[in-house]
Symmetry: C2
């Protein structure tokens, strides 16, 4: 193996860029010992070269123009950490065209343009590392690509958005409403000023697109993912869930059966004994079921300067090892062969158990009307709760169903909504029992 230094350039000096630079600079000696050669941070580019990131850089290391990295023939690995689609995409494509290896944490870009990026890299014979794009400090990309190489994965699901999980944990533990919990998350820096990507489930869907591609070999399919965020969740449903022995989490779920792949992001009720139910605050966790490994779970910080910076550094060291041992392309494509025969299952065809909540007038015959409609759509009821009694007034009526088809549930609820004894919009939340 060669012991030549490998030179790195970082584009984007925000949170993750700072963490990456901090590790590369402060652990230079350890990284050299572990890799067997020096890994040199040569340059960092950011449009803001004034802000203090609490990190002392050698003079001249921080520059404004990313071209000083992409055009530098000495730099072998370009680390893109600016996020978003443009100009990140153009910069990565340009870096690849110039023969640079790329490390990125950009889930939005990979989820939507992953094939463009990976195909360009393949043509040029360079590597693309993306460990930091999903679940921050949890090395889920390497686990799927390398450790589970002897498995056919059957399902993968998890909590992969720390902001939403922080909000849900706070709503569950402290009984506060959604907007209070969101404000608290914003105050602590766990949520952005515009939190749409996180609380709308879009960020989870970006990451799920990447996970499903790795796990099942399906093309990156962000646009086809059914996505429902946590904005509409009410304290009432969180409390009913608790009473029934469940916890509500925002899950990203992908399952494969035969040629069908399910891909969906939505609030989900998990049995309180489920290992994912106990994942609180900003932590992430990914549950995988494989035909050899069985059920396994990986838990850790899903974001933040140092956890995500550490994931970027692991990619840098991996690629640097490949460079110096002449093994670029050692892991083929994205690690799993593409499967052209898979199709994404329409949301209306998924099977799940459901939590249903209605506001219905408390009078005789109402339950029979509602359950009659459910029955006519092949939905059978596992349990019913009606706690309050307010004769002739609307009270919450909660039902847990056995396995039913999404389409049937949606159609049944449409019929039930029309009943004169039902007020307001019926609520339904999917239930996940697997892995309990």
């Amino acid at each position: 193996m060669m012991s030549r230094p490998v030179n790195i350039g970082i584009i984007g000096f925000g949170t993750v860029g700072t963490g990456t630079a901090r590790i590369l600079l402060q652990k230079k000696r350890e990284l050299e010992e572990r890799a067997g050669f020096p890994i040199i941070l040569k340059r960092i580019a950011d449009i803001d070269i004034r802000r203090d990131r609490g990190l002392r850089l050698p003079k001249g290391m921080l520059v404004k123009d990313y071209r000083e990295i992409v055009d530098d023939p000495e730099i072998q690995i370009v680390v893109e950490l600016i996020g978003g689609i443009s100009p990140a995409k153009e910069i990565i494509v340009e870096a690849i065209r110039k023969g640079k290896h790329v490390v990125t944490a950009n889930k939005a870009l990979l989820a939507t343009s992953g094939h463009t990026i990976f195909n360009a890299a393949k043509r040029k014979g360079v590597e693309v590392g993306f460990e930091a794009s999903v679940a921050g400090g949890i090395p889920i990309i390497k686990i799927i690509r390398e450790s589970l190489v002897g498995n056919n994965i059957q399902s993968i699901f998890g909590i992969i958005n720390g902001t939403s999980n922080y909000i849900l944990t706070k709503m569950t533990k402290e009984g506060v409403d959604f907007s209070t919990a969101l404000r608290d998350a914003q105050r602590l820096g766990y949520a952005e000023a515009d939190p749409t990507l996180d609380i709308g489930g879009i960020d989870s869907a970006h990451k799920l697109a990447i996970l499903a591609t790795l796990a099942f070999g399906i093309p990156f399919s962000f646009k086809k993912i059914y996505t429902e965020g946590i904005t509409g969740l009410s304290q009432l449903d969180i409390q009913f869930a608790e009473e029934l022995g469940y916890t509500i989490k925002l899950l990203a779920i992908s399952k494969q059966k035969g040629r069908d792949v399910e891909m969906r992001v939505h609030p989900t009720m998990l049995p309180s004994g489920h290992i994912l139910s106990n994942v609180g605050g900003v932590y992430n966790a990914v549950f995988i079921e494989g035909d050899a490994v069985g059920q396994c779970l990986f838990y850790g910080r899903g974001a933040g300067e140092m956890p995500t910076g550490g994931a970027v550094v692991s990619d840098i060291v991996d690629i640097a090892r490949d460079i110096n041992s002449g093994a670029v392309g050692r892991i083929r494509d994205i690690g799993i062969a593409g499967r052209s025969d898979l199709r994404i299952k329409g949301m209306e065809d998924i099977l799940s158990c459901y939590y249903l909540r209605f506001y219905a007038i408390d009078k005789p015959g109402v339950l029979s009307k509602i359950s009659g409609i459910l029955g006519s759509f092949n939905i059978s009821i596992k349990s019913v709760i009606q706690k309050e009694r307010k004769k002739e007034r609307a009270v919450p009526l909660v039902m847990m169903t056995h396995t039913a088809r999404e389409r049937d549930v949606v159609n049944a609820l449409r019929e039930i909504k029309k009943l004169s004894v039902v007020t307001g919009r019926p609520v339904y939340i999917r239930v996940e029992e697997e892995g309990e």
Copy 2:
């Protein structure tokens, strides 16, 4: 990258050998697609070539003499799955001398002779894969060596013996005593006829020796690990723990601070909200705290044909990729530089909180005598429980301490045992609060 087939020989056709062979044979096509070249199981050796393992092998694949593998110039990777020290060690050393790469699940061998094996491999320029040696299906070796390469690990601890965890889970959930739970584990095949290695904590200590070497760069130090099994645990202490909000688990613990490394295996009380408390049955879980990643946890099946076989296959694919891309030795040594300046902390010097349980005569002044002795050894008490009242008779007295030094606790208990009002041997269980 070359697309030559890589030939494999498995020595030892027991549980893990069967799982490994099953995956290599039944997923030949998938593995070839993922690796980019064929991975061929050429031969399996076992002294028992008659027993039915439920797997159809091509004629001539199964042989009695391991030399048909070690001497075969076509075989590049020798998979040692016979376990135990001898003749596994001799076979591995011979295979290495003949230039074969080695994959092994043999924790006892690595924990005691790891340096002999790794040094021989280094001299000969071959690789040794050992993912399957710790925690079965959990890819903890790769995670520490590769994914956490940018971290200095501060602590690593976990449940890494499924047999003990099954027994403790059963004792906790069903209230049965140790011997009943053990018999049940034996009936289900989770415990061997001679369960000493598992319930005595020795198997956990073997694995801890490997984890600590990877995490901290300390030489394999099995013999220096303080090891206490679960044999002495009574139902009474499990119940008191529960009442105090704790769960008892057999933990393997290693922590580094400055030059000191702690290494110990013993029953440990964890707060019931701790993520490790909810790891039940035969599952394993490893908790790691690193300076970049923060706290993370990896959970899965710690043993069994398919989970462990899958781990062996991941090593085979890794090494085969290195062979075909000319990158043998891509990861240096065992992945982390050795540190000669570390020393193993004596058990008597560790600091911990403690659960203490005495049988003491129920009469005035007893608590003051006991707490007086504890105080004189700098042990301060956090809480006391004495539930039963039986005037002038022995009743259990339970105390939780603040952080104390092991030596002080042992010495104080020796004094307390001498008190005429105390009957029987005082019990103490260490408490782990980190990572809650």
